[in-house]
């Protein structure tokens, strides 16, 4: 319980340290990330993020979840499910940028 709590606090502290989205990500990379989100995330979550084999990632579906948890899910995946880790090609900052895009709604 205590471990879970301190983990949660650590995650929250980490989230607070995240830069504002878009900062330091150049336009070409943003365009790559936007395409990755729609097309590759979309292959499981649907092009419009309404869900597929993977769950829906619409703003309402994510409203209850913390940025930090979502960033971590992108970077490390969800073991025991088909959600793979994306750390091999995405930075913390880029994952945070993707979460911000999801919160705005894709398209």
């Amino acid at each position: 319980m205590r471990a879970a709590l301190s983990f949660g606090l650590a995650v929250a502290a980490f989230a607070a340290a995240l830069p504002a989205h878009g900062e330091g990500i150049d336009v070409a990379r943003q365009s790559y990330l936007a395409n990755l989100l729609t097309q590759d995330c979309g292959s499981c979550h649907g092009l419009t993020m309404k869900g597929g084999l993977g769950p829906a990632l619409l703003p309402a579906a994510l409203a209850e979840r913390d940025d930090a948890v979502l960033v971590e899910t992108i970077l490390d995946g969800r073991p025991g499910t088909p959600m793979p880790p994306w750390r091999f090609e995405l930075s913390q900052q880029e994952a945070a940028w993707l979460v911000a895009r999801l919160r705005e709604g894709v398209r």
């Binding site: 395409n35 729609t38 097309q39 590759d40 979309g42 292959s43 499981c44 649907g46 092009l47 419009t48 309404k50 869900g51 597929g52 084999l53 995946g77 088909p82 793979p84 880790p85 091999f88 090609e89």
Partner: protein, 400 residues
């Protein structure tokens, strides 16, 4: 001749010429509509809600149909005369398209989230597999009116449905992703469907397909190493696990796109299947389903499609290896060639006799066409974010 008479004659000639031109144009327009359907097909433009109609005799684009909704993961089946395509969209849309007239005949939205479909062996019924609400809905192929609703409910929970195919017996076979079951639905009397259920087939079956000309139905498992096999000649024998433990207990690699079993066929007496979480193709003897070989490949295989004569198997890959296609030499069970058609190769489709293979490169906005014998590029067709390619020859193949 008086000048008046000359003018009248010139006028007459002019009107005749106009009439002749009009007739010629009308005749050629009509000739355009009189054509066979055997060399037609569609390319899905997944992000634009549109399909492009193509013909593969001259490798050209002959039309397009718009307004089909969210076509991520869209697939299609064809009426038995090859004239109509039924397109299944992610948003639950079922669209009937006339390939000759290049127009949308009817479109319904039959569920919140759909994944694919099938056409019955007699061509009268269209079945759609749905994620939300989980189940199968069956429609009249002519009118698209609903004729049966088959919720996929197991232990009080709805399940997403994958791997829907028709059988020669007039039934539909499909797999429940969440519940891990295979069901066979006999819809000879659509009002009273008879469903046989095969539970406990394994964890997270992600797709299913008929192989060996419709003899067997095989479901791939995401949650464990192996596949679930049902002999459709003897369903009473039940589902058995094949190729189990192919991962040898090693930690699977992450999968950035689910493999697809569509196109899995017998080549040289063996079945070639994508492994899950391994950069390998699994090769099994079609009679015994014992492992014959594993072929190391460039990435996580997505589609493994045999040339119609089985001499080659062409494979594409999941992100981030999806700029590449490899050609397996079937007699030697080795990778013979590696091609780079471009960014984000989504799908590949052979012409019915294997003289061409069409490959969609999504992020190149191109469909490239190759000669499978020489590997020469024969041409390319522009398409916006192309994904699935479906030729009308599927109309005459069981399970397509």
């Amino acid at each position: 001749m008086t000048s008046r008479a000359r003018r009248a004659a010139r006028l007459g000639m002019k009107s005749l010429l106009v009439l002749f031109l009009f007739l010629a144009v009308a005749a050629s327009a009509m000739a355009g509509t009189v054509r066979g359907t055997g060399d037609l097909g569609i390319v899905v433009e997944r992000a634009s809600g549109r399909v492009v109609i193509i013909e593969h005799s001259h490798r050209s684009r002959i039309g397009a149909v718009d307004g089909l909704g969210d076509l991520s993961h869209a697939s299609a089946v064809f009426s038995r005369d090859g004239r109509f395509a039924y397109v299944f969209g992610r948003d639950g849309g079922l669209s009937k398209i006339d390939l000759i007239e290049a127009k949308l005949v009817r479109r319904i939205v039959q569920a919140g989230n759909a994944i694919g479909g099938a056409i019955s062996a007699d061509g009268r019924l269209i079945a759609v597999s749905n994620y939300e609400p989980g189940g199968v809905k069956i429609f009249d192929a002519e009118s698209l009116d609903l004729v049966a609703d088959l919720p996929a409910e197991s232990n009080g929970q709805r399940s997403k449905v994958v791997g829907l195919v028709e059988t020669a017996d007039g039934a539909f076979v499909y797999t429940l992703y969440d519940a891990g079951e295979i069901w066979i639905a006999d819809v000879a009397e659509p009002a009273r469907p008879a469903i046989r259920k095969f539970p406990g087939i394994g964890a997270f079956p992600y797709d299913g397909v008929t192989v060996d000309g419709g003899r067997s139905y095989v479901a791939g498992l995401f949650g464990e190493d192996g596949l679930a096999l049902l002999d459709l000649w003897r369903p009473e024998a039940g589902v058995r696990r094949v190729l189990s433990g192919y991962g040898r207990g090693e930690e699977p690699l992450p999968v950035y796109k689910m493999p697809h079993l569509e196109g899995v066929t017998v080549a040289g007496g063996n079945v070639f299947l994508p492994a899950v979480g391994r950069h390998e193709l699994l090769v099994a003897d079609v009679r015994t389903w014992a492992e014959v070989a594993r072929i190391p490949v460039h990435g996580q295989p997505v589609f493994a499609v045999a040339r119609p004569d089985g001499r080659q198997v062409w494979v594409n890959f999941a992100h981030p290896h999806n700029d590449t296609v490899q050609v397996i030499d079937v007699p030697s069970l080795k990778v013979a060639h590696t091609l780079r058609p471009g960014k984000a190769v989504m799908h590949l489709e052979f012409t019915p006799k294997g003289d061409q293979v069409w490959i969609s490169a999504r992020d190149e906005d191109l469909v490239r066409i190759y000669d499978p014998r020489t590997l020469a590029e024969l041409g390319a067709i522009a398409a916006e974010k192309p994904s699935g390619i479906f030729f009308t020859a599927r109309a005459t193949r069981l399970g397509y």
